[in-house]
């Protein structure tokens, strides 16, 4: 099994490197002079020269990449064109905020999703199942940014219960919860739908296996069957949980911009609007790294639960 762990770790490295190549290439994909992509328009000639040498724009492309990679490894993600601040600082703060939102939304999606999925599977064919399935399809089909807007319309504009914007100004748990409530729900909808469907399908597969039917016929307590189903569907469920958490980190872009939540998504939105490529690169690289490590963790966790997977 440790061989599998080692192999997975090794595999993650070229994936990360490949991702970094793509991020690096963004600057050169952009139309126009790459230097314009990293420097504000009104920079002096001296500043441009200095940046050119620092980034190595006059050197061949592979060398540029290595120079950039080295800087990234040391934590230097460049400077924002708009604010002139180091990207790494803004990204760090934003990442913290996004993680909070992603975690809270994941909690909601996972708990409700798994509950609905299991409920659906154990009551297959009955009204409850059809209801849950319908809810799941709705969840998967709804554009979360639109859902956010609707939530704002209903809860902020019409009912005035919950705030529409941003992180809380006042400290304290209640203001925090009030501010995070709507974005959490909006972000959780799609993962909720996906998780419900996957959990239902995985649980059904196991429930319909012949030996489970045999066990139930012998009168095995419902609770034991339940535990058995849970244990055996755990790997599949874990995979989808990991994927959806990643989706929420990325998908938060849209929800955060609706709610002006000061996370990485908001930063990305701003960077897109201002064509601030260093910030774009920094945020995407950090998020991608996070995602790869997350997938790695999920894979390894799965192996712990079900060693058969490791026999690749």
């Amino acid at each position: 099994m440790w061989v599998y762990v080692g192999r997975r770790l090794l595999l993650a490295i070229p994936t990360l490197l490949g991702a970094s190549v793509i991020v690096f290439a963004m600057v050169h994909l952009a139309p126009g002079d790459p230097i314009a992509a990293v420097m504000p328009a009104e920079s002096s000639a001296a500043e441009i020269e200095a940046t050119k040498r620092a980034y190595g724009f006059d050197r061949p492309l592979p060398v540029q990449y290595l120079v950039w990679l080295q800087r990234v490894a040391q934590g230097d993600l460049g400077r924002s064109i708009a604010t002139r601040r180091p990207v790494i600082l803004d990204v760090r703060d934003a990442l913290a905020n996004s993680l909070v939102l992603a975690l809270s939304s994941s909690l909601l999606a996972f708990v409700v999703g798994i509950a609905l999925g299991l409920l659906s599977a154990f009551r297959q064919g009955r009204l409850l199942d059809k209801l849950c399935a319908a809810l799941a399809v709705i969840g998967v089909s709804v554009p979360h940014y639109w859902a956010g807007i609707i939530l704002i319309i209903v809860f902020s504009v019409q009912l005035n219960w919950l705030p529409a914007m941003g992180a809380a100004d006042d400290p304290g748990l209640l203001p925090f919860l009030r501010h995070i409530a709507l974005p959490t729900v909006a972000l959780a909808l799609i993962p909720l739908g996906v998780i419900t469907r996957v959990v239902r399908s995985a649980a059904l597969d196991i429930l319909n296996q012949e030996f489970v039917t045999a066990l139930r016929a012998k009168g095995l307590a419902a609770r034991r069957v339940f535990v058995h189903v849970l244990k055996n569907s755990a790997p599949q469920i874990l995979t989808v949980l990991g994927l959806q958490f990643g989706f929420q980190l990325g998908g938060s872009v849209l929800v955060e911009s609706v709610f002006s939540w000061p996370g990485t998504g908001y930063l990305l939105n701003l960077a897109i609007f201002q064509r601030d490529i260093p910030v774009l690169q920094g945020v995407i690289l950090v998020l991608a790294t996070f995602f790869v490590l997350l997938n790695l963790a999920v894979d390894l966790l799965q192996t712990l639960i079900d060693p058969r997977i490791a026999r690749h």
Partner: protein, 299 residues
Amino acid sequence: MAPLAGVEAATDAVAAVPAAPMSYWRTVGWRLGRDRTTLAAGGGLLVIVLAALLAPWLAPYDPSAGSIRLRLAWPGTPGHWLGTDEQGRDMLSRLLWGGRMTLVAGLTPVLVAFVVGSALGIAAGFVGRTTSTLIMRTMDIFYAFPSVLLAIAISGALGPGLANTLISLSIVFIPRVVRVAESATVQVKGLEYIAAARVSGAGMGAIVRHHLLANVLGPILVFASTQVSLSIILAAGLSFLGLGVTPPAAEWGLMLNTLRQSIYVNALVPALPGLAIFATSMAFNLLSDGLRDAMEVRG
């Protein structure tokens, strides 16, 4: 040729001739026809697609023409059934024309991904170890990004515009199709009828054409159909962020963005474009669910 003397005709098990045996695809069609939910979803989708296609004839107004006097009129206003947007443009017309954009931006990347992804995936599964490793490891790199981020990364670099959106979304979906295609191909490749075809002297091309494709395209198609709704949401999402279609073009995601500020004035009109996205996305999901159920090989 008459049966050999002494050879008993194989009449065991299977009963006397029933109605003409149904080919696989006809069975699929038959199953689909009996599934009411799928039929309803298909019908709804047909309405949406037709409305979008016939927009030039159905739309009562020019989608870009608006008068500030009439801005943010509520649905039900005479002359403007679905109200007007923040620039006074008729919502119904913009929704109809916007549908064309959204549908194109949603369907095209999946179609491209289906063709390119299938080709790459089948090659990876069928040709050999080096090709397979090359293709699959390259796809893994794209998998390092959540789909939304990848779309933003590429669109962010390329810039706004419909063409760039199509390119970036295609790149998002191709790796997924490749994975499914490779997996299906590897599974079929190991089956003995492929070996039998080789023993008959068939070359790689003939085997792929006659034996592999028919058995592999089914699962790939089902998977592709599940991605359409995501593609629509992403395409509209990109426009929402300012990366997709640019104003003054009508596109549902873009409309959602520009109408966002107006929710304090008129709560209903801003909800409409999102409703359209939602309805279309849901119809595709139900349809693909039905397709998957109908295509399940039984027996």
